[in-house]
């Protein structure tokens, strides 16, 4: 008797399980339909109040554009640094009185040294020709009876660290015919230091502005929650889960973040157009040809993703804070 009663009850879970599988697929479908509905509804609500939405979106756009713009500049600068032209150089200026033979001899001696990567002699004649060609002041040379330019030997040392470069500079001074030795490295060190601090400032600024985005969205969503408090409370009383209550606001936050990011990309490109020509002039003086890079596909996707995540996060913060007040005591 007890066996007879047990066996049908044992079958029950099996039937239940197969029924459950269908429900799960069904449930997933309804869940996705619900998400589609909430996403659309949040978008409609955002578009229904263009004035205040635009205000918030502009704030988000500016807060996202500044780090995006700095990031783009950094990428541009970093692409410059590793070029071969940035090897430290020593320019050895010989005394003008040194005769051509002696100049030749000195440069040959240097060619034999194995602590130098390259030795380039610029004779006074070559120097004058170069000067005439490159400088607008080339005509000045005609005022002199004889070529006033000294012979210059350009050296690229093998060892690049500042200390050994300075030692080499000292040893070159010891040669009698040497007038002065210019170590062409200080501006490099300075550039590296500037880039380094620029990078650090960018990171700090980006973090602060990301926090701003989070707070702006959280504040906007907080107002939105205030307007829909009755709906939240009624839904909770009917058995809505926290997730259910959060969903419309998370979508609202997501839309704000995404549209803010889209606007910020427009701002970033406008800013890049503005800085392109002065930046090109500056870099060409030091480093030769320079092509300003935009955000690129990856950058655009990153800014959009960052905006969306921050918008979502800000909304999450705002709703979660609000939800705790409805917990039973």
């Amino acid at each position: 008797m007890s066996n007879a009663q047990k066996s049908p009850s044992r079958k029950q879970p099996n039937r239940g399980a197969s029924g459950h599988r269908i429900t799960r697929a069904d449930r997933l479908k309804r869940w996705m339909a619900r998400h589609r509905y909430e996403a659309r509804d949040a978008l409609t609500r955002l578009l229904q109040m263009p004035a205040s939405a635009l205000m918030t979106l502009s704030m988000l756009a500016v807060a996202l554009a500044v780090p995006g713009f700095l990031l783009t500049l950094l990428i541009n600068f970093e692409q410059l640094t590793p070029t071969t032209e940035l090897k430290p150089q020593l320019a050895v200026y010989l005394k003008p009185a040194t005769d051509a033979k002696r100049v030749d001899q000195i440069s040959r001696e240097m060619l034999l040294r194995d602590d130098l990567l390259s030795v380039e002699l610029i004779s006074p004649d070559t120097g004058a020709a170069d000067f005439r060609e490159r400088s607008e002041l080339g005509g000045l040379l005609e005022l002199f009876e004889t070529n006033p330019l000294p012979a210059v030997i350009l050296l690229v040392p093998r060892d690049e660290d500042p200390a050994s470069l300075q030692t080499m500079q000292q040893s070159l001074f010891a040669i009698e015919e040497v007038d002065t030795v210019e170590l062409d490295i200080e501006w490099l060190v300075r550039l590296a230091a500037i880039l380094n601090s620029f990078e650090r400032i960018s990171v700090i600024l980006s973090l602060l502005l990301a926090l701003t985005v989070l707070l702006v969205v959280a504040n906007t969503i907080r107002t939105m929650i205030g307007n829909r408090l009755e709906e939240i409370e009624v839904s909770l009383l009917m058995g809505a889960t926290s997730r259910w209550v959060r969903r419309p606001f998370l979508y609202a936050g997501l839309w704000y973040g995404l549209f803010g990011a889209l606007l910020s990309i427009v701002l970033i490109y406008l800013a890049l157009i503005l800085v392109e020509s002065p930046l090109r002039e500056m870099t060409e003086l030091y480093l030769g040809a320079f092509e300003l890079q935009g955000l690129g596909f990856q950058g655009v996707v990153s800014v959009l993703a960052l905006g969306s995540v921050l918008g979502w996060g800000g909304a999450y913060l705002a709703v979660s804070r609000q939800l705790t007040q409805f917990e039973p005591q």
């Binding site: 839904s235 909770l236 009383l237 009917m238 058995g239």
Partner: protein
């Protein structure tokens, strides 16, 4: 099995006010009862314990086979979905239609759109307001609004229906209509508990009456 069982239930609020003092009572499954008492006697608190808006300070509150005093926070939504609750001020949302208001508990419980359409119309039919489907609740009279509130409470066929002063703002004739509506649901097996201070109305209806007096239960 009893539908509701309070066992030695006390509720003291953080400000020191004792809203309920060792309350004991049972409501059988399929029973209909009134809960009455002066304002401040603890009616609202008792209903808040049943809807898990508050938890008891002491004692056990059983609904079916679930002890609400110790119920896990994550199970509260599921429990509330199984209830039907009618409020005094009906708490309809004014930014959506009657249909959308009644559909809300079904959406929360995850019903499909087809199912929702059918059930909402069935519920509207039961309260005699099928034609009000696409109206805004604010455009309806007080009695009609309360009927919509009832339709929303019974649309998912709850086994326990709780009402907090459902006739508080209505004239006597409309009040009787509403009470008869509750009786209809009770006749098909729903357990009904109605908090009201409308003594005249209670006397006309032949149902059990639970009286709260300063937080204590007096059985009649």
């Amino acid at each position: 099995m009893s539908a509701i069982r309070f066992s030695q239930v006390s509720k003291r609020y953080p400000n020191g006010h004792d809203a309920l003092r060792t309350v004991d009572f049972e409501l059988d499954s399929g029973e209909m009862a009134f809960l009455t008492g002066h304002s401040g006697a603890g009616k609202s608190t008792l209903l808040k314990l049943l809807t898990l808006v508050e938890r008891p300070s002491r004692g056990e509150v059983w609904v079916g086979d679930q002890n609400l005093a110790t119920m896990d926070r994550r199970r509260i939504p599921g429990y509330r979905q199984s209830l039907g609750v009618v409020y005094q001020n009906h708490r309809l949302l004014s930014d959506r239609t009657v249909f959308q208001n009644i559909a809300l508990p079904l959406q929360i419980a995850g019903y499909s759109d087809d199912d929702i359409g059918r059930r909402v119309r069935a519920a509207l039919d039961r309260v005699g307001l099928l034609s009000a489907e696409s109206a805004n609740p604010l455009a309806l009279s007080g009695g009609e609004q309360q009927r919509i509130g009832i339709a929303r409470a019974i649309v998912h066929k709850p086994r326990l229906l709780i009402a907090d002063e459902p006739t508080g703002n209505l004239d006597p004739r409309l009040s009787l209509d509403i009470m008869q509506l509750f009786e209809q649901f009770n006749r098909i097996g729903t357990t009904v508990l109605i908090a009201t201070h409308d003594v005249a109305l209670i006397k006309r209806m032949k149902h059990r009456v639970l009286i709260l007096d300063k937080g204590r239960m007096r059985h009649v």
